[in-house]
Amino acid sequence: MTTSIKNMNCEDYKEALAGDPSASFAGGDAHVAACESCAAYTAEMQAFDAKIAQALSIDVPDLALPSLPPVEDDNVVNMPFRNKQTFSMPTWVGIAATVVIAAFVGVRMIDLQPGSGLPLDQEVLAHFNHEPSALQVTTVAVSDEKFSSVVNPSIGTMDRNVGLVTYANSCIINGKTIPHLVIQGEKGPITLLLMPEEMIDGAMTLEGEGVNGVILPMGDGSIAIIGEHDEALNEIEQQIIDSVEWRI
């Protein structure tokens, strides 16, 4: 038995009991065995908790499943700003002709501009929506090894003290491999996409459902920062910019 457990007073015990009403925390049994008052309090709180559980168990209506899009359409469904449309036959003929022309032009240009062809802001948002698993609220940082493999010398460097980095992955934006990072902000996870080769003229606001984000120019590249709707991104933008150095 540690000193702190041995010295657990009634106030400590009651506060610990609030966190774990089963009283299975270290020192709980010992304290309650020696304190009649707390034993009675424990029984009272456990009975009260049973009532709270009962009160919280509201009836659940029959919930209908939403219409689930086919798996093949995932990449379309995940694109923000894109509505499903139906087309008539003549429209399809026009589209087919356009596709042939676009394919021809695309083949000619592929060496110049690899990627999806979406504007950068839409490409960023599509990617953001495609990796929701990255947006965990957690206190577990990615390992230095993982971080270094993602923010590697071919990209540049980043001072990871800018925030608790909880996700790091190499992703593709406009055909280029870039670091996709998540740091924990004040209000939740903040996504950072470091894009050393995506030069932009000025800051681009990211607009979409539930999105609070910006793409900031930085040298020959740019950095996308996306946070919770109420996250004050402007307070950390400069810190993030200062933490990154592109490969020379």
Partner: protein
């Protein structure tokens, strides 16, 4: 495995996960937003989002916190979209009233109303602990706060509820 098999397996997995946890998703949403009809919308959106990102769920035994996290985000998105006013306990919709008085036990209904009136910061960890069975560590991770803050909020939530119930009893 061809694409049809993959699609069927994905559906089966989704059904399996959802059938186990959809009640938890609904109750969590209902206590977060305090409105059964909004909770249904939030759950629908959450299910759609879960379907789209199902491949991100690596192990089914992690499904519950994963789904609840999605519900939490969808609830935030809903309120961001709709810009609703704070719920006024004295001006409840029929659905909200039904949520608070659906038993024949008046004491239980009083307790439910007391929970309903708790600040979001106190109500949410209580729901996660008592109803969802989350540990304080898990609650801290889900809510993005320190474990100590969770303990404090749980302690205060129970104290406030006890005071409210005792006040009702004395009235």
């Amino acid at each position: 495995m061809n694409s049809n098999d993959v699609g069927r397996e994905r559906h089966r997995r989704f059904d399996r996960v959802v059938s186990v946890f959809h009640r938890d998703m609904y109750r969590y949403a209902a206590w977060l937003c305090r409105d059964p009809s909004i909770a249904e919308e939030v759950v629908q959106e959450a299910l759609l989002r879960a379907w789209k990102s199902l491949d991100a769920l690596r192990e089914d035994n992690a499904a519950k916190p994963w789904l609840l996290t999605i519900v939490r985000r969808e609830n935030a998105r809903y309120f961001e979209r709709k810009r609703l006013e704070t719920v006024d306990i004295d001006a409840l919709s029929p659905a909200q009233s039904a949520m608070l008085a659906e038993t024949e036990d008046s004491k239980l209904d009083e307790l439910r109303q007391a929970i309903y009136k708790l600040d979001d910061d106190y109500r949410e960890p209580l729901v996660l602990q008592v109803l969802m069975g989350h540990s304080t560590k898990e609650i801290a991770e889900l809510m993005g706060i320190q474990q100590g803050a969770v303990l404090t909020r749980l302690h205060r939530a129970r104290i406030k509820l006890k005071e409210e119930v005792e006040k009702e009893a004395a009235a």
